[in-house]
């Protein structure tokens, strides 16, 4: 496969950033907020692609890891919200970028521990272990007073700097932060995947035994993948928390892990190219369904449950018919076409 040079990639990312910036000034506030959610999903889905598509491991617990990131960011971030609610503030008051870093580090730490366990497990065993984590961790957060119990904690990123002028709204500010963070994260992830480690993971994914024979330390490769992936999930969690403004156990339930996995499959787990697809679908389908249901006038329970029904159906259809994702499917088709022409 033809690879773009680094310079071209940097330029492409900058162009993409500019396009996103212009778009954010055209569309209305609501879309901008949705854009922030999409950005959080993109990072979360990318973390699954790294783990499943590249190192061949599966995790149903990335929603919980996002929770770790979100809670960490809230704990070390601006304490204005805590004071507002009369909660005991942690006394730490880090600037936003550092709260993101803290979120990444905390989630990566947990991920490293999990990775050590994961390296010993395969397929269904790993899925089950991470599943148990996804259910267990939020309920633990529920129990600690310092984590705000059921209510959770505030995570307030704050108003846009006045230097940016009057026209910059809160939601735009959040979106810019999320979009910039996401672009950097994806750029970094692409670099990692093109590095020695990316190739090592692909080898491990292809065959444990063959990779081992080629002198690869399989366990270490898997643990590294899990750690990095968890770190990304932590970042996604911080972005997610920024979007909602709070972190609470109910925001990081099993359903979030499922959503990430679904988004990754819809995007295609083998390539980063389609990472937007899944994120957009996850955000768009509930809205489309709601507007259709409003027009048809179906009952509330139908309206509430139809989106997840449709997304799950899409998930199963994708697994059956385009298991490697739409982008990979098109690429292999066009490659076949080219081969025929030559």
């Amino acid at each position: 496969m033809h690879k773009l040079s680094n310079l071209v990639r940097i330029i492409l990312f900058i162009v993409l950033g500019v396009v996103i910036f212009i778009l954010s000034n055209i569309v209305d506030e609501y879309r901008v907020t949705q854009g922030t959610t999409i950005a959080a999903y993109v990072v979360g889905i990318a973390s699954i692609i790294l783990l499943t598509g590249y190192s061949g491991q599966v995790s149903l617990g990335h929603g919980a890891l996002m929770g770790v990131g979100g809670y960490t960011a809230a704990l070390v971030g601006d304490q204005a919200g805590a004071k507002l609610m009369g909660e005991t503030a942690t006394g730490v008051n880090l600037p936003i970028p550092l709260t993101f870093v803290a979120a990444i580090l905390a989630a990566a730490g947990i991920g490293a521990l999990l990775g050590v366990a994961a390296a010993r497990l395969s397929g269904p065993y790993l899925a089950g272990t991470t599943l148990a984590l996804a259910v267990g961790l939020p309920s633990v957060a529920n129990q600690f007073k310092s984590l705000g119990g059921e209510q959770g904690l505030f995570y307030i990123v704050g108003d846009p700097p006045t230097a940016l002028g009057e026209g910059v709204t809160q939601s735009k500010w959040y979106f810019w932060i999320a979009a910039l963070t996401t672009l950097i994260a994806i750029f970094w992830l692409q670099n990692v995947m093109r590095s020695r480690y990316g190739r090592i993971w692909k080898a491990v994914r292809g065959s444990d035994v063959a990779a081992e024979l080629a002198g690869i330390n399989v366990a270490r490769a898997k643990i590294l993948a899990f750690t990095l992936s968890a770190g990304l999930a932590g970042l996604a969690g911080a972005l997610w928390a920024m979007t909602i403004g709070t972190v609470s156990p109910s925001a990081f339930q099993l359903a979030l892990s499922f959503s990430l996995l679904t988004g990754a499959v819809l995007s295609g787990v083998t390539t980063l190219g389609g990472v937007m697809i899944g994120a957009v679908i996850l955000v768009a389908i509930p809205e489309i369904v709601h507007s259709v249901v409003d027009r048809v006038g179906a009952s509330q329970t139908v309206a509430d449950n139809l989106p997840s029904l449709i997304v799950s159906a899409l998930l199963i259809l994708t697994v059956i018919f385009v298991p490697n994702g739409p982008v990979e499917q098109m690429r292999s088709k066009s490659m076949k076409k080219k081969a025929r022409h030559h």
Binding site: T52, A127, T129, L133, G136, V311, L315, I316, N324
Partner: protein, 302 residues
């Protein structure tokens, strides 16, 4: 001492239900090498079948049988309509290993979002057929009621039934053969596809019993977002894994162990550990014996 016995009995009963769930997961694993994460969803659906049946019949036990048939049909349908197609389409590529996991999770979601459309999101009630008031010895009341006794007996009965089927009948032999090596079984004249569907149907019926018993063991209320059913999903799976995934007896041991551990943690440590306790049990077992309690070394094929 009395408290200890009570905890033991409570753990035993919930352990029996977990064991049943684990059994249904093992049955699917043995016939298709798939971990069916939708099993708890199917159990939930079957419980609603039971609820529906109770509108027409008076006896809970009759409704249980109807729910079993419903659960078996649902499982067979899932096997034919989804799993068979998927396993044929997705045979290679990086996603082949995780495809069954993702597909069954998708099914779980589908079931969970379909049920409220039919039965609404609110609780429905299934009255337990037997008293939930504990037996009394002298002045003290045991935490063991006629209902709990019936649950333990029913589970024992089902376990004996499946052991007999697996070990003593031709169907059992075909089931074991198709799981061990589909190609060889096919050559020996076993209709592997049909046998697999049968394995799923057995598993669906078992899961239905687990679901309904779970409902009547508790308050009798049933809702699509029931916490007990998410716990059933986790517990059944964990019980199956610590039992070694291959063995029926292992599943039962795993289920009972898990039931006892959670009951004792709840009673003597803290109820905040309720959800995390199964996870810790799983980690401890997997670290000590990655192949499970009754699993064979090298038998871990994913």
């Amino acid at each position: 001492m009395f408290e200890f016995i009570n905890t033991l009995l409570i753990g035993l009963t919930s352990g029996a239900i977990y064991a049943l769930m684990a059994l249904s997961i093992v049955l699917v694993w043995r016939s298709t090498r798939v971990i069916n994460f939708a099993q708890a969803g199917q159990a939930l659906a079957s419980s609603y079948f039971g609820f529906e049946a109770l509108k027409y019949v008076d006896s809970f036990w009759l409704a249980l049988i109807i729910a079993m048939v419903g659960g078996a049909l649902l499982a067979a349908f899932i096997e034919i309509a989804f799993m068979r197609v998927m396993l044929k389409h997705t045979t290679s590529g990086p996603i082949a290993n995780v495809a069954p996991i993702i597909a069954t999770l998708g099914l779980l979601q589908i079931i969970h979002s379909t049920i409220p459309m039919k039965w609404g999101g609110a609780d429905v009630l299934i009255t337990p057929p037997l008293s939930n008031v504990g037996f009394s010895i002298g002045e003290e009341t045991l935490a063991f009621s006629p209902m709990k006794l019936a649950i333990v007996m029913l589970v024992t009965l089902l376990l004996l039934f499946f052991t007999l089927i697996f070990q003593k009948t031709n169907i059992g032999l075909s089931l074991r053969a198709s799981a061990f090596s589909p190609e060889l079984a096919r050559l020996a004249g076993v209709r592997v596809d049909r046998i697999r569907t049968l394995g799923w149907a057995f598993s669906g019926a078992t899961g239905s019993v687990a679901g309904l018993l779970l409902v009547v063991n508790g308050t009798g209320s049933l809702s699509p977002t029931s916490l007990e059913f998410s716990l059933l999903l986790i517990s059944g799976f964990i019980a199956a894994v610590i039992g070694g995934l291959e063995s029926l007896l292992g599943a039962v041991i795993g289920g009972l162990l898990l039931g006892l551990v959670t009951a004792f943690v709840l009673m003597y440590v803290s109820d905040s550990l309720f959800f995390i306790a199964p996870f810790i049990v799983l980690l401890v077992v997997l670290i000590a014996r990655p192949q499970g309690i009754l699993g064979k070394k090298g038998g871990r094929r994913a």
